[in-house]
Amino acid sequence: MNTGGLILVILMLVVATLAFLWVAFQLKSAQGSDQQRKSAVDTIEQAAREDVEHIFNDEFREELRNRGRLHFEKIIGENAMFLQQDLRETTSQLNDYMRSEITRTLQDEFKKYEQSITDAKQLALESIEKTRAVVEQQREVLLQQLAHQAEGEKTRIVARFEEEMARIVNHYVLRAIGNQIDLTDQLDYILAELENNKSAIIEDIKRGT
């Protein structure tokens, strides 16, 4: 350590001592002014109270109350507006939600209903198709039966007509010539017929006897 350094240290020690002394002096002088200060504060407080009483009188308070009321009303109004807006938006959203839900539900139900109708329609079509096939089959059978019956009836009528017609003609011929032919004139025919049946007659007589 050189001399300069030593001097500097000494100077610092001196300065520190001086500062300590100054602080002690200051503390001692401060203790003496606290009482004055207290009284001054009391005075000031008193004056402040008076000023407060003087400033914040009834009119001022009424004014403040009115302002507060107006401010409160304004806030209430703004809040009400905001609330109304929110409520409107909420209602709108709720309506949209309800609409979408109802629409979706209705669409689902409609789809189910449409599917049911489609199934019922398909069943009805199948049933109608089956019924139509059965009816067609029945119609074919009936047509065949009718054709068969008509053909049978036609054959029967024709046969009956032929039989009746032939019978009528025969009857007419018999009535017309029955009493007009002499047996003598028939002898040749009868003998010829007997000759034709001769063997059968002989055979039958032999068996009969």
Partner: protein
């Protein structure tokens, strides 16, 4: 006396005639038996025989005054009555004797020598006859002939009906032209 073939006259037609001849023969036998017990010399009047019995005896060379012949004839008639074939023949009207005899003659010549006939009437057969043997029926009548010709009658009717139908169809498809309009009157030039 042995006969080869017993022949029946055409006058004996049916079993009724045979039975009548048998009854007559029995009556003759009774008369002959009664004549035997009579006083000799008493005049006898033979019963009058029917033509049928007379022909029967003559045709078969029987002497009816001979008892044996009568017995044999009776036996023959019994055989005929029991065993001869009886045919039933029907005509539309009562046959004449001549026609019946021809038929009977043919039957006895061609079918059986002792064939008997029972004659009936069937006016419905119109003409011809219907012969019935023990088991068969031979319809030789005009009715049967017409019955056999029924298809031909039907064919004729069908042809006639077809002609009528074709004619009607032709008329329906080609209607007859309307009567021509009145001929136009010649225009008379104005005087």
């Amino acid at each position: 006396m042995e006969k080869q073939t017993f022949r029946l006259p055409l006058g004996v037609t049916s079993t009724i005639d045979v039975a009548r001849a048998m009854r007559e023969l029995n009556a003759l036998n009774d008369f002959m038996t009664a004549a035997k017990v009579r006083t000799p010399g008493t005049p006898l009047q033979l019963p009058k025989l029917t033509r049928q019995l007379d022909e029967l005896a003559r045709l078969n060379d029987y002497n009816l005054t001979d008892e044996n012949h009568r017995k044999e004839l009776t036996a023959r008639l019994n055989t005929v009555m029991g065993k001869s074939p009886v045919l039933h023949i029907s005509f539309a009207s009562e046959p004449s004797v001549k026609a019946l005899e021809r038929i009977l003659s043919w039957l006895r010549e061609n079918i059986h020598a002792q064939a008997l006939l029972t004659v009936g009437l069937q006016p419905g057969i119109a003409a011809g006859c219907v012969l019935r043997t023990p088991n068969l029926l031979f319809d030789m009548s005009l009715r049967s002939y017409l019955k056999q010709q029924e298809p031909y009658v039907v064919q004729l009717i069908e042809e006639a009906a077809n002609r009528v139908v074709k004619k009607e169809v032709a008329q329906a498809t080609n209607p007859a032209p309307q009567p021509a309009k009145q001929a136009e009157q010649p225009k008379v030039p104005a005087a």
